[in-house]
């Protein structure tokens, strides 16, 4: 009897990985003969292998598992792919990874729909007027070479998302070879301001947060369960936190203007006037009454009454929270997207970090991270400021050639950037893309990328849960489309155009990766084992764990320059704050074309397949708006129209539209669903870091007179249980958690 376990064990035995892929490919080819699909066959190079004589690691009808890394977001979860007959079927978390410990979020699981997406680009496309013409890769490479001829290094720009590992090395080498320093690392949604504040207060950009060690977590809009930094990892910490430290169940308090998934799970959720998170933090410091010196001086004006007036939080709640924080230590205070999205975002984050210092959490629940021993592989983290810089450069006509590595700034840049127009000013735009998204459509040359399930790579996550880990990304199956290429292969080909000699030893990225890893075998923990064994073990594990040095956090409390502005006056013309919501399903919209994601109800509103304008019922009553009304949301920059969903978890002066929908390209599952709030986002920037202040947009709401049925999972009863005991709740004083298993 062959069971899946024994096959799983096979993954631990050494064998030739590429041979494996070939066999899998033939599995696919056999399927093609029976009319089920097509895979690439290298004409004249491959031999027919009878399926019954397949290699011993392929057993028809039994699944094989391979480890790789999830690339849906940059948290760096390790995955285990289930493969049968050469097709990847399902992704699970890899239990060996300290980050996700065998778990995987919905977004990660939907990666197979990225891989199998019917709307992927399948051929290199060269712009011919409004149409793309399929060309060969040789021609595409030659074209790039040709267009680069005579272009100065500073006239070349490259835009990418977060990048790390060998791909980053190769990318850097290519930019070097071009003589360009214009590598813009851009992520539309990124905690860049918090990083800066962390650096200021703790001495590191991304410390290790220990929610599991905290007895109280006070989060200012940090959606650590849904979208923030490393949600799957934090969710596991959260589970431990709820189970309790020393039997005491952790308490979560969330202060934000618009409820996030994390806020929905809080014991106390505080609706905060948008932009006053820092004031609340100072108010709590004041209420704690333990600070001295500079800090006491800073917070002395932030008495309860004032803070309550400014933030909308009731004084009694401030007292209760201060009392709880005093009583239960250690605690952890987090600053998230909601706090940083303002002109004074840095001040907000600083005030919040100061609270951590005052509470003495630094060193207890905020730990120093380990540093990556190979700095060239450490992640470059994206910032919105990078896009601003690039856009300014493009607008000034500084760049003649633009490379875009799978980012979609046309979709995620505020409309006032006029990014689409500015991009046109670059003479030659190359997009490395999976789909014809809004940005790829503007490119002159579109080069189709392998999906993460076809490609090789290494990734170093920014947030390291335990030791340093280098995550291996390896193909889980043979290429689905013959003419897509891995980003690494493309980079290698391109860099060979410039530095043929240096890279001639490498046929492909696989060879490059293998030799790069084996070169550092000793440093990677493989001393003593032979090359093949080490390489195969590495692939089999999917992770290389290294011990890294962890420094100490700075305990210096420096409140100089910390000054919070008073809450903004109501603007008569634009009375509402627009909160562009980052939701756990959609993030920045790069996965909107994955149908599981589209149909996965938004956890808070349960809406699917569409955008909505979230509005507090009280405000809606004032405006005479009911659920399903189509309203026009107008900012200084522009306007969008969408259905209203009445939602109590939002500050009444605010409305929220989720980011990620409203594509006008990107295939059948994304195009035409919902609206894009970036279209009405004002270009306002955080003053200290230059990041886009996403929460600073003011809007007004007008009814259009149309009404639709909101497509959502929730029924007409809404969230009410109508007296039935369905989702029961009990307060801590009525339950004895110690008896639990």
């Amino acid at each position: 009897m062959i069971d899946s376990d024994s096959v799983k064990n096979l993954a631990g035995h050494p064998f030739d990985r590429r041979d494996f892929l070939k066999v899998l490919g033939w599995g696919g080819a056999a399927a093609a003969l029976s009319g089920c699909g097509n895979t690439s066959i290298e004409d004249g190079k491959e031999t027919v292998v009878s399926y019954v004589e397949a290699k011993d690691y392929v057993i028809p009808g039994v699944a094989v598992y391979f480890n790789s890394t999830c690339a849906q977001c940059d948290a760096g979860c390790s995955i285990t792919g289930k493969i049968r007959e050469g097709r990847v079927l399902k992704l699970e978390g890899n239990p060996e990874s300290p980050i996700n410990k065998g778990k995987l979020c919905g977004l990660g699981q939907a990666a197979v729909q990225h891989h199998y997406n019917p709307d992927r680009v399948r051929e290199p496309l060269l712009r011919k007027g409004d149409k793309g013409e399929a060309i060969s890769w040789e021609k595409a490479y030659a074209l790039i070479n040709e267009k680069l001829a005579g272009v100065k290094g500073e006239e070349i720009a490259l835009l990418s998302g977060d990048v790390s590992g060998h791909q980053k090395v190769l990318l850097g080498n290519y930019m070097d070879s071009l003589g360009s320093k214009n590598h813009f690392v851009y992520e539309a949604v990124s905690p860049a301001v918090v990083r800066a504040a962390n650096l200021k207060f703790y001495g590191v950009e991304m410390p290790r947060y220990r929610i599991d060690k905290a007895k109280v977590v006070l989060s200012f809009g940090a959606d650590f369960l849904g979208t923030w930094v490393s949600p799957v990892h934090f969710a596991q910490q959260y589970a431990a936190f709820r189970k309790g430290v020393d039997g005491q169940r952790g308490v979560l308090i969330q202060a934000e203007s618009k409820m996030t998934l994390t806020g929905a799970n809080a014991d106390r959720w505080l609706a905060v006037r948008p932009g006053t998170e820092g004031i609340l933090a100072l108010g709590i410091i004041n209420a704690l009454g333990v600070s001295t010196g500079d800090v006491a001086e800073l917070v002395k004006d932030y008495d309860k009454a004032r803070v309550s007036r400014d933030t909308g939080v009731e004084p009694s709640n401030i007292d209760k929270i201060a009392a709880l924080l005093k009583l239960r230590s250690p605690s952890l205070v987090l600053a998230g997207g909601a706090a940083e999205g303002y002109v004074h975002g840095m001040q907000n984050a600083a005030a919040i970090n100061l609270l951590n210092q005052v509470l003495g959490n630094v060193g207890k629940t905020i730990e120093a991270p380990v540093s990556v021993p190979f700095p060239q592989m450490a992640p470059s983290k994206g910032r919105t400021a990078a896009l601003k810089d690039l856009n300014d450069g493009l607008a000034a006509g500084k760049y003649k050639v633009l490379f875009n590595v799978a980012t979609n700034p046309v979709f995620t840049a505020p409309a006032s950037y006029k990014f689409r127009d500015n991009m046109a000013k670059a003479g030659f735009k190359v997009a490395f893309a999976h789909y014809l998204d809004e940005t790829a459509l503007q490119a002159d040359l579109v080069l189709p990328l392998d999906s993460e399930m076809e490609d090789w790579g290494t990734h170093v996550p920014e947030y390291l849960a335990d030791t340093v880990q280098i995550n291996i990304q390896q193909p889980l199956m043979e290429r689905l489309h013959a003419n897509t290429r891995g980003m690494g292969d493309i980079l290698l080909a391109l860099v060979k155009q410039r530095r043929a000699e240096e890279y001639k030893a490498f046929d492909d990225y696989y060879g490059y990766l293998r030799s790069a890893v084996l070169q550092n075998k000793a440093a990677l923990g493989g001393a003593g084992s032979d090359d093949d064994t080490f390489w195969n073990d590495t692939l089999s594990n999917g992770i290389v764990k290294l011990s890294g040095a962890s420094g100490a956090l700075s305990l210096k409390v420096d409140v100089s320059g910390l000054k919070l502005p008073a809450p903004k006056e109501i603007d008569e013309q634009y009375p509402m704050n627009l909160i562009p919501a980052v939701t756990s399903n959609l993030r920045d919209g790069r996965h909107t074309n994955q149908p599981w994601i589209q149909e996965s109800p938004d956890p808070l509103t349960t809406i699917v397949w569409d955008s909505w304008v979230e509005m507090h019922p009280k405000m809606a009553l004032q405006l005479g708006i009911v659920e399903g009304d189509i309203v026009k949301v107008t900012s200084k920059t522009g306007s969008v129209s969408a259905q209203v969903y009445l939602f109590p978890g939002i500050y009444p002066d605010a409305v929220s539209i989720p980011i990620g929908r409203g594509h006008d390209a990107m295939g059948r599952y994304a195009k035409g669903y919902g609206v894009n709030p970036f279209e009405i986002m004002d270009a306002v920037f955080e003053s200290a870091t230059g990041e886009l202040a996403m929460h600073e947009t003011r809007v007004n709401i007008t009814k259009t007179g149309q009404r639709v049925i909101v497509v959502k999972d929730e029924g007409p009863a809404g969230g009410r249980q109508m007296g039935r005991k369905i989702a029961a709740r009990v307060s801590t004083d009525q339950v004895d958690l110690s008896k639990e298993v």
């Binding site: 009897m1 069971d3 899946s4 376990d5 699909g37 009808g61 049968r84 007959e85 097709r87 079927l89 399902k90 699970e92 778990k103 995987l104 979020c105 919905g106 197979v112 729909q113 199998y116 997406n117 019917p118 969710a235 596991q236 589970a239 709820r242 169940r249 998934l261 806020g263 929905a264 014991d267 106390r268 959720w269 609706a271 709640n317 009583l327 689905l480 149908p595 994601i597 149909e599 109800p601 956890p603 109590p648 497509v711 999972d713 929730e714 809404g718 969230g719 039935r724 005991k725 369905i726 989702a727 029961a728 709740r729 009990v730 307060s731 801590t732 009525q734 339950v735 639990e740 298993v741």
Partner: protein
């Protein structure tokens, strides 16, 4: 057909379950879901789509209530006249409760849904004629009917997307009822493996797809009759008895300080899923 067989086995065919009799030997698959751990992230629901070949019906059909999510996350908020949900929401993963005395089973005219030896409420797609009586009689409304022929519906599984389909699970055509199976394909594989080795399935050897993906480990699943299983221990610690329609702990004066409960238990369907109440800190 033989009348003698009927008469010879009269006692056997007159057994009542779950009241008089415990036929779950050696397995009774059951679940415990900790609502305090559930964060409502939907990972389980997506895992279910991936594992069980659930069709994505698209916006129009979703609007008409024809969605096929075997596992759905419900989100509750009790207003009590408050302006804000300042005590948070409550999320509830809801799927087939695999009732011991399932109301759906008795009413199916063709016997397409039955109770299995290992305590599941099975659905036989081939046998189903689509009378939908089972769904009509389900108190939890966790049965999903194939209103259209999804495999041939445009953009449900277009070319290449269909490569993802799990070969261990049937793709259902129009007109049949379906629902959560507790990932029966995984259970059977584990049971058969264990049988081949002359043992029963060990705790942790088999996971449902939702359990496997759950980032907070809110879902535990296992063999309720195995004293070593976590599910067994949880049910026991919470004093929830599978075969009771009202738990003794609830009759104690002053209530219970345990948080295990089953939804709509009073309907006497004896669900196999125990929920643990969401806890809320009283200090804030």
């Amino acid at each position: 057909m033989s009348v003698t067989n009927l008469l010879d086995n009269w006692a056997a065919v007159r057994h009542f379950h779950p009241i008089d009799d415990k036929p779950h030997d050696p397995y009774k698959w059951a679940m415990a879901i900790d609502l305090d751990a559930c964060i409502g992230c939907n990972a389980c629901a997506v895992a279910c789509y991936a594992e069980n070949n659930l069709p994505v019906v698209g916006r129009e059909k979703f609007k008409h209530g024809q969605v096929m999510h075997w596992m759905r996350i419900e989100r509750y908020w009790e207003e009590d006249g408050r302006d804000f949900p300042d005590q948070g929401f409550q999320f509830l993963p809801m799927m087939c409760q695999q009732c011991e005395a399932a109301p759906c089973e008795t009413v199916c005219p063709v016997g397409a849904t039955n109770h299995t030896q290992d305590g599941l409420n099975s659905q036989i797609y081939n046998r189903c004629i689509g009378s939908r009586y089972c769904s009509a009689n389900c108190p939890f409304k966790v049965r999903y009917f194939n209103w259209y022929d999804y495999p041939t519906t445009e953009n449900v599984w277009p070319a290449e997307m269909n490569y993802q389909l799990n070969p261990d699970v049937t793709v259902r055509g129009k007109g049949v009822m379906e629902k959560c199976t507790f990932c029966v394909q995984r259970l059977r594989a584990a049971e058969v493996t264990a049988k081949g080795e002359g043992r029963i399935v060990r705790e942790g050897e088999v996971q449902t797809a939702c359990q496997q993906s759950c980032p907070t480990g809110a879902i535990s699943f296992g063999n309720l009759v195995d004293p070593e299983s976590r599910v067994h221990k949880q049910w026991q610690a919470q004093q929830v008895d599978l075969d009771k329609d009202a738990q003794e702990k609830n009759q104690k004066e002053g209530g219970t300080d345990l948080r295990g409960y089953r939804i709509l238990e009073e309907l006497r369907s004896y669900p196999s899923v125990m929920y643990l109440e969401r806890v809320r800190e009283s200090a804030v």
